[in-house]
């Protein structure tokens, strides 16, 4: 009896140790990745990286100016497409939360969110590349936009639901139409959250490589023409990472560092904004 009790206690302690060890085991790769990206990225990162064009193999130096501009162009196109659709669907899902159609939209958004990014790329190829027989920035922006929509829609919905019901009811009680209540009271209250939700979505797609491989493709030259192939930071990192040249590999690490910094900054900002809203919700 006694030994069984002590065995149970021992098992229990072993379990606690296992759980703590699991956390450590997961954080080790995180630390390793951040360390290597920081250490190797910093050695390749300089002003040239941002201002110069790629140089041919053998010449040292050069940068990713075209890829950085390309990523900005692609992200801008994606946002242009995803913001109106995402925010409007988010408003619909939160305002008419109980309607059957809102359920269908929610289901579609979650489904879209789970579609592998490479499949989105194949879809965008079929819609935006094949008919025009041309890789283009527009096709890349379309692919990234499709990926952004569900993220923006769902965060908008969640954050609008966090806005205290009393605020909306107050506006409606004063005789405001629903549109007026949403646009003058509910949306402004949730706005910081929605903006950071959008930033979070941008951060997610800024690092996406797979859907760009055969939509935006790549371009060694500087371009802002939307109907031409365009370079992007992740695709450039991919190309350089698999190259046998040390100079290119160093630039790949620098590119990875820039990507990680973008992602880190956006997730921190989003976190702060959400917490502020949650506090408001708790007060309301």
């Amino acid at each position: 009896m006694r030994s069984s009790a002590s065995r149970r206690k021992l098992l229990s302690s072993a379990f606690v140790v296992f759980c703590a060890a699991a956390v450590v085991v997961a954080l080790i790769p995180l630390a390793f990745i951040l360390f290597f990206v920081a250490a190797r990225g910093l050695s390749g990162l300089n002003l040239q990286f941002f201002t110069r064009m790629p140089v041919p193999v053998g010449e040292s130096g050069g940068g990713m100016a075209n890829a950085i501009v390309g990523t900005l162009v692609l992200a801008g196109l994606a946002a242009l497409m995803a913001l109106p659709i995402g925010i409007a669907s988010g408003i619909y899902m939160s305002e008419y939360a109980r309607s059957r159609f809102a359920g269908a939209v929610r289901f579609a958004a979650d489904t879209l969110n789970g579609v592998p990014s490479i499949v989105i790329g194949v879809f965008a190829y079929g819609v935006a590349v094949l008919p025009f027989r041309q890789f283009s920035a527009l096709a890349g922006g379309f692919a990234l936009g499709v990926m952004m929509i569900p993220i923006i829609a769902r965060t908008t919905e969640e954050l609008l639901l966090l806005v205290p019901g009393s605020m909306r009811e107050g506006a409606l009680a004063l005789g405001a139409t629903r549109a007026r209540a949403v646009f003058t009271v509910v949306l402004p209250a949730a706005l910081p959250g929605i903006v950071t939700g959008a930033l979070l979505a941008l951060a997610r797609i800024a690092g996406e490589t797979a859907p760009l491989l055969f939509t935006a493709f790549n371009n060694r030259f500087f371009t802002t023409k939307l109907t031409e192939p365009i370079s992007s930071l992740p695709v450039q990192v991919f190309t350089y990472a698999l190259s046998p040249y040390e100079d290119w590999q160093r630039q790949a690490w620098a590119g990875a560092l820039v990507l990680v910094l973008i992602v880190l900054a956006c997730s921190l900002a989003a976190r702060i904004a959400t917490r502020r809203l949650e506090r408001m919700h708790a007060r309301g």
Partner: protein, 313 residues
């Protein structure tokens, strides 16, 4: 009053029209994939899925090695990731002091935020050499097993599974954590009252949340199946059906990533799209099942917590 009603209807229709675009896109993905894959579907039929010749020159396409590589790497990744994810979920929600919870949640979710290409870069230059060294230093007795056959290349299934496991952990852990939170305190208190140890009480809570935990694992599975860049960079990209974890393999997502832009003739392209179509359908089924499980579970949890509210609704 009537004007207000009409304005409200207009608002509902406008936002509804935008919202319907989300549904349209999902349907369009299915339709476009089927259309573009049609040539291949007609030509190869079911044989596409159990033949393993992949020869663009002669126009013969069979997807078996890619399916094998995808399933093998994803399942292996889940075997590694599941115990770790559950340990993390339990530690954060049940064991850690309160001040530690939020930072730990942030750090594990950071794992999900790092772009896939960064994982790939790290994999190529750090993980693969480490795995190569580990493979080489295994005792010969173990190396004779079919799972560890072949030369220690580093580039291969083991590296891919490891990197997938790291990438999947945050997804499974966060679902499991959220659902452990919905387990009524009475479950644990009851267990403690019966003289249970901490492990036994948590085991009871885990059992209570079992369908949610399965949902979390499936969500991770869906992610692993479709993961592209990191896997493409470390798996070795050689189509073969082999049991060896040391051998290079190829996955469905990786073959699309590598060959799509160069696929010149229609049949080749259409075969690649068909692989994408199946990837779409499989992840659709896995994710939907996972969401249904979460939904039923959180519903029954709220019903158990607030019987009056549930009855009133």
């Amino acid at each position: 009053m009537r004007r207000k009603g009409r304005a409200d209807l207009g608002f509902r229709c406008t936002t509804g029209a935008f919202a319907s675009l989300v549904v349209v896109i999902v349907c369009a993905i299915a339709v476009v994939l089927v259309m573009d894959a049609w040539t291949s579907i007609q030509k190869f039929g079911l044989a596409f899925w159990y033949t393993s010749v992949w020869n663009p020159v002669t126009g013969e396409f069979g997807a078996l090695p890619f399916i094998w590589g995808t399933l093998y790497s994803s399942v292996l990744a889940l075997l590694i990731a599941t115990p770790i994810s559950l340990g993390i979920a339990v530690f954060i929600s049940e064991l850690a002091p309160e001040w530690l919870q939020q930072p730990l949640v942030f750090l594990t979710e950071l794992l999900a935020a790092i772009p896939s290409i960064v994982y790939g870069l790290w994999g190529v230059f750090v993980l693969v050499p480490a795995v190569r060294w580990a493979e080489g230093s295994l005792p010969d007795r173990v190396r004779e097993l079919p799972f560890f056959a072949g030369p220690p290349l580093g580039l291969g299934l083991l590296s891919a599974a490891l990197i997938l496991a790291i990438m999947v952990i945050p997804f499974t852990a966060s679902v499991a954590r959220e659902l452990l939170k919905t387990v009524p305190a009475a479950q644990r208190e009851g267990a403690y009252a019966l003289g249970a140890t901490r492990f036994e009480a948590i085991r009871a809570a885990l059992f209570y949340a079992r369908s949610g935990i399965i949902a979390g694992i499936m969500l991770g599975f869906g992610r692993a199946l479709g993961e592209t860049m990191a896997v493409t960079m470390v798996i070795g990209n050689s189509p073969q059906v082999s049991l060896s974890m040391f051998a290079p393999h190829y996955t469905m997502a990786a073959v699309i990533a590598n060959e799509f832009a160069e696929a010149s003739d229609e049949l080749y392209l259409s075969a690649l799209v068909e692989i994408g179509l199946v990837l779409f359908l499989v992840t659709l089924v896995v994710n939907t099942l996972s969401r249904v499980l979460i939904w039923t579970m959180s519903r029954s949890a709220t019903a158990a917590l607030e019987p009056d509210v549930a009855a009133a609704a």
